[in-house]
């Protein structure tokens, strides 16, 4: 499965890096959407300036995916961006091509998050133990069932 992980990682990296850089290098090439719902949403994002931030983040995540570094944070950061990407593809501009694109986005995100799940389980702590001081507490969080 190792090769499959790397294939998904590199595919997602290329997609993010390509989509991100394309906006800055060829801004007129940016896909605006073929129906009013998707078109209006994309144009509003671009006009607000937020789209540039999203594309900048896509470039950064594309690089970290390519390098396979900071992967726990990268996989987590993919979630909110790809939520909107999937929404765009499945709700705002639904047709066969975008259903496939949205499905691939969901699969790649889910698979990458799954691969790094050991780093995310602590986030699901129901009650947890907060530290109300100024010490950084860098020591590893330990929880029941962890293998040594």
């Amino acid at each position: 499965m190792r090769w499959f992980y790397h294939a998904v990682r590199l595919f997602t990296a290329a997609w993010f890096l390509g989509a991100g850089l394309n906006y800055f290098i060829y801004p007129d090439n940016q896909r605006l959407g073929l129906v009013p719902a998707s078109h209006d949403f994309t144009v509003a994002l671009i006009d607000s300036g937020l789209f540039a931030w999203v594309k900048g983040i896509e470039v950064v995540l594309g690089i970290t995916l390519l390098a396979n570094r900071y992967m726990p944070l990268t996989a987590l950061a993919l979630v909110p961006i790809n939520f909107v990407v999937i929404y765009y593809n499945w709700v705002l501009e639904p047709h066969r091509g975008t259903y496939i694109a949205g499905g691939l986005t969901l699969f790649c995100t889910a698979y990458l998050v799954w691969s790094w799940r050991a780093y995310f389980w602590p986030l699901l702590a129901y009650k947890g133990a907060a530290q109300h001081d100024f010490k950084p507490h860098f020591t590893q969080l330990r929880f029941e069932g962890a293998s040594e």
Binding site: R2, Y5, D133, F134
Partner: protein
């Protein structure tokens, strides 16, 4: 010589009470903001300046605002209940990023700057006590798990 090192903690339960007060204010703010548009759709502030108004209307027209409001309700409840806090405190960061952008860039003004600053302040206060849960996310070269087992493995 006066000792100028940073103390490990403030006297008594000061930090704890700052955390709980911030949690109740922020959680209540989010729950209120999330619920009100369902009760009265006209309540949703669109902004005073045209870029903010256009962005808010686009979010509403796309239907994405609905999802944001549902998230505000869910995380508002979790934060008020002080449950699943490691997840709640970090999950609100992307939404707060957009809120910050809206307040600092799209709809400038004293009130907006204040709301933006408070957003940063409260999110930081909520994240800090749960920092032990987040340090592992900053792993430079970690180890992915290629198996199908759900358990934690080295």
């Amino acid at each position: 010589m006066t000792d100028t090192t940073i103390p490990d903690a403030l006297p008594g339960p000061t930090i704890k009470w700052i955390y709980h007060l911030s949690r109740l204010i922020f959680g209540g703010w989010w729950l209120y903001s999330g619920v009100m548009p369902f009760i009265n759709p006209a309540w949703q502030p669109l902004g005073q300046e045209q870029p903010a108004i256009d962005f808010s209307l686009a979010m509403i027209a796309s239907g994405l605002m609905l999802w944001v409001k549902v998230a505000e309700i869910v995380f508002g409840i979790l934060i008020l209940a002080n449950r699943m806090m490691p997840l709640a405190a970090i999950a609100v960061v992307p939404i707060n990023f957009v809120i910050l952008y809206w307040n600092f860039v799209l709809d400038e003004g004293t009130v907006e700057y204040t709301f933006g600053a408070l957003t940063i302040f409260f999110n930081a206060i909520l994240l800090w006590p749960w920092r032990r849960y987040y340090w592992r996310l900053l792993t430079w070269k970690g180890k992915p798990d290629f198996s199908l087992q759900p358990g934690i493995q080295d």
